[in-house]
């Protein structure tokens, strides 16, 4: 996959917000209280999104990508402590009442979630769920007009026979079709920003490209800026112009797609690229990153990537590097030794693996970790399955009220 094949302008990020800035996140921090202490899920994330731009956010599970997105939407649980700033078209969202936020959600900023199998309400038709969003932000719209618009939207995202499909329940559609419905809901009110949180992760590989196509169509129709959250670098390459790499709740490198792919300045990015099979290179070896991300509970001082980093030096255990500009055009990296990485290949930094059994086993392990996050579900949930599940769930839980047989009343 080549970079920039969608023809987006690879423009540098302007130094100050302009009137074209639709979304600006500044020093965002999110922490969750837990029984063991404060979990700092997001530790200072900043980004800016111009009208119509595309930003990819990449990282492993638990790096804070989704939490950042939910914080922007104001949809985190009440216990979450959110600080920093989120500005939509220049006005601050953090601290707004839920009612005021509701006016912006769906009309200004829309969101697409990871798992289409569970994103739609099973008891309402897909048409009704689109209409609900339409009428919420267009109270003057007639029911008839809303219905026509819903059908039109379903057609736009590539659902065949949209007029009939509007009356379908979610369980009657495949995963890919359901995700198209979710995209239709997101684009319904012509939002300025669409945040897509791993929109294809839960789908079959064969369907992923089609759903991304539908997402592109939605962007073209609405002119919305896109925040694409993913752990798939390939997806980012084709659909966004800037990328931010997140690790342990922070952005550790950001820049244009080209800068990140060809001149990464952070060992973690390098590791991510090295662990990805690529068609555009002749590499015959993959370089995995050993270990797993640190716990965000009581994070030790120093660079959070240091324990996994082949370039680690003593300084890394003391100071956490800040995200600093590493070359012209807004390419930033949070590594003390960003300069050393100029012109480095992943294979030179990380140990390359051949096709020996040990490495295969290691790959298999990291694969299963990835899929546990993705949670693949069976493509069609039949009525019989649903009943069986609910029955066995009842059985597993035993009595719901602490006694069996209610004769003794």
């Amino acid at each position: 996959m080549t970079v920039g094949d969608k023809g987006y302008a690879q423009r540098p990020e302007p130094a100050t917000p302009t009137e074209d800035t639709v979304l600006e996140v500044d020093g965002l921090q999110v922490a969750f209280p837990s029984e063991d202490g404060l979990v700092r899920a997001v530790r200072g994330v900043s980004y800016r999104l111009e009208r119509g731009a595309g930003l990819g956010i990449v990282g492993e599970s638990g790096s804070g990508k989704s939490v950042t997105a939910l914080a922007v939407m104001g949809l985190l649980p009440a216990a979450a402590k959110v600080t920093g700033s989120v500005r939509y078209r220049g006005s601050e969202l953090l601290g707004l009442s839920d009612t005021r936020l509701s006016d912006i959600r769906g009309s200004g900023i829309a969101m697409i979630f990871q798992d289409p199998m569970t994103s739609l309400n099973p008891v309402h038709t897909v048409g009704a769920q689109i209409i609900e969003g339409l009428l919420r932000h267009n109270p003057d719209m007639s029911k008839r007009a809303a219905r026509d618009r819903a059908v039109e939207l379903l057609g736009t995202v590539g659902i065949p026979h949209p007029d009939r499909r509007a009356d379908s329940y979610p369980h009657e559609l495949s995963g890919g079709m359901r995700q198209r419905v979710v995209i239709a809901i997101a684009m319904a009110n012509d939002p300025a920003v669409i945040i897509a949180d791993e929109p294809t992760t839960a789908l079959d590989v064969t369907v992923q490209a089609q759903v991304l196509e539908a997402l592109e169509t939605a962007r073209e129709e609405t002119g919305a800026a896109l925040v694409l959250i993913t752990h798939d670098l390939g997806v980012v390459a084709g659909h966004t112009d800037r990328v931010a790499v997140m690790y342990a709740g922070r952005v550790v490198e950001s820049g244009t797609v080209e800068e990140l792919f060809y001149e990464p300045r952070m060992p973690y990015t390098l590791g991510l690229l090295g662990s990805m099979p690529r068609m555009d290179r002749d590499d015959d070896r993959l370089t995995p990153i050993a270990g797993s991300p640190p716990s965000l509970l009581n994070l030790p001082p120093g660079c959070p990537f240091a324990p996994r980093c082949p370039m680690r030096e003593d300084r890394c255990d003391r100071d956490e590097p800040s995200l600093h500009v590493v070359d012209a055009g807004g390419h930033r990296s949070a590594c003390h030794f960003a300069d050393r990485l100029v012109g480095m290949e992943a294979g030179a930094v990380f140990e390359a693996t051949g096709a020996d059994n040990e490495s295969l086993a290691r790959l298999a392990r990291s694969d299963s970790e990835a899929s546990s996050e993705a949670s693949f579900e069976a493509s069609s949930e039949t009525a019989a399955e649903a009943t069986a599940e609910s029955e066995s769930a009842n059985d597993m839980n035993g009595s719901t009220d602490g006694t069996y047989g209610k004769g003794s009343r």
């Binding site: 969750f32 209280p33 837990s34 029984e35 649980p77 009440a78 216990a79 050993a290 270990g291 797993s292 640190p294 324990p307 996994r308 980093c309 082949p310 370039m311 680690r312 930094v349 990380f350 140990e351 290691r362 066995s392 059985d395 597993m396 839980n397 035993g398 009595s399 602490g402 006694t403 069996y404 047989g405 004769g407 003794s408």
Partner: protein, 307 residues
């Protein structure tokens, strides 16, 4: 599980990364469950109270200077130092009677829990393990038992068996094991597809060994939770039967019988009514909290995620 880091060759093969972040202390499933249970405050307090009640009911009668079946010269005395729970109109010491009643009710409840848990767990495990015709036949029998109305059958049988505590327990256990069998069966159905069962079978383990060494131990979570529900069901059913006059018969006594005997004396001798009632509530309440704690401890999916 201990994860070891591969010493990935750093830039020049120097300083392999230390293992500090990657060693995870090994914890067995049982330790995890215990840790989660110990953290459940309501369950822990309940466990302490429940154990104290059990000890009091079984050891107390040997230490107390009145017997539950001996008259004292004091009639209808309110609680005092001499008779902490007062006396009834016939002069029985209520403290001794409540102790005896608690003991009987607990014996019934615990026998119900043990009996129906054992039968139900084995029944459910065998049905779930063999599936097919065996499962179908065994589960239809369970279903049949479930259609029998608990209190009605208990009434009919107890009216004949004359009020010994173990008969009451056996009758109730004979009607409640089917609930356990359904729970265990559905657990076993999901377990039997797991790798460790396949591995055991590949190693040539016998069916009985797989059922008793692999399937049942791994179903302990739901089994324990249901055992607590059965203790609560047992104590409430036994006391209800005794209240209606079909349970434990005088001169023996149970908490239900004591409440029944005191129901006309709520105004005049309230201690006779409130104290045994409070003991029933205390036992059922603590056992339900213990069950709640076990459920959370065994099933982290249902654990309370602070939101």
């Amino acid at each position: 599980m201990t994860e070891t880091t591969e010493a990935t060759g750093a830039m020049d093969g120097e300083r392999p990364p230390e293992e500090r972040e990657f060693t995870v202390v090994e914890r067995t499933q049982a330790q995890l469950v215990l840790r989660r249970f110990l953290r459940h405050r309501a369950a822990m307090i309940s466990l302490v109270i429940f154990v104290l009640i059990v000890l009091w009911a079984f050891i107390g009668p040997h230490l107390w200077h009145y017997s539950y079946q001996k008259y004292t010269p004091d009639n209808s005395q309110p609680p005092s130092a001499k008779h902490p729970f007062g006396t009834n109109s016939a002069g029985y010491d209520s403290y001794a009677q409540v102790m005896r009643g608690t003991q009987t009710s607990l014996k019934v409840a615990i026998l119900i829990a043990l009996g129906s848990t054992f039968v139900g767990a084995v029944w459910g495990a065998v049905a779930g393990f063999y599936r097919g015709v065996v499962d179908a036949v065994m589960m239809r029998i369970s279903d049949l038992v479930l259609t029998l109305p608990l209190l009605a059958i208990a009434l009919v049988i107890s009216s004949r068996t004359g009020g010994s505590w173990y008969w009451i327990a056996l009758v109730i256990a004979g009607l409640t094991w089917a609930y356990v069998s359904r729970v265990v069966r559905s657990t076993v159905l999901s377990l039997r597809e797991k790798e460790f069962v396949e591995a055991a079978r590949a190693l040539g383990a016998s069916d009985a060994r797989i059922i008793f060494r692999h399937l049942l131990p791994n179903s302990l979570g739901p089994i324990f939770v249901n055992a607590t529900i059965l203790v609560a069901t047992g104590i409430l059913t036994e006391t209800a039967l005794s209240f209606l006059g079909f349970g434990v018969q005088p001169p023996d006594t149970s908490l239900g019988l004591l409440v029944s005997q005191a129901q006309t004396a709520v105004d005049t001798r309230p201690w006779l009514f409130y104290i045994p009632g409070a003991f029933i509530i205390a036992i059922a309440l603590t056992i339900n909290f213990i069950g709640d704690g076990l459920r959370d401890a065994f099933d982290p999916r249902q654990q309370r995620v602070r939101q």
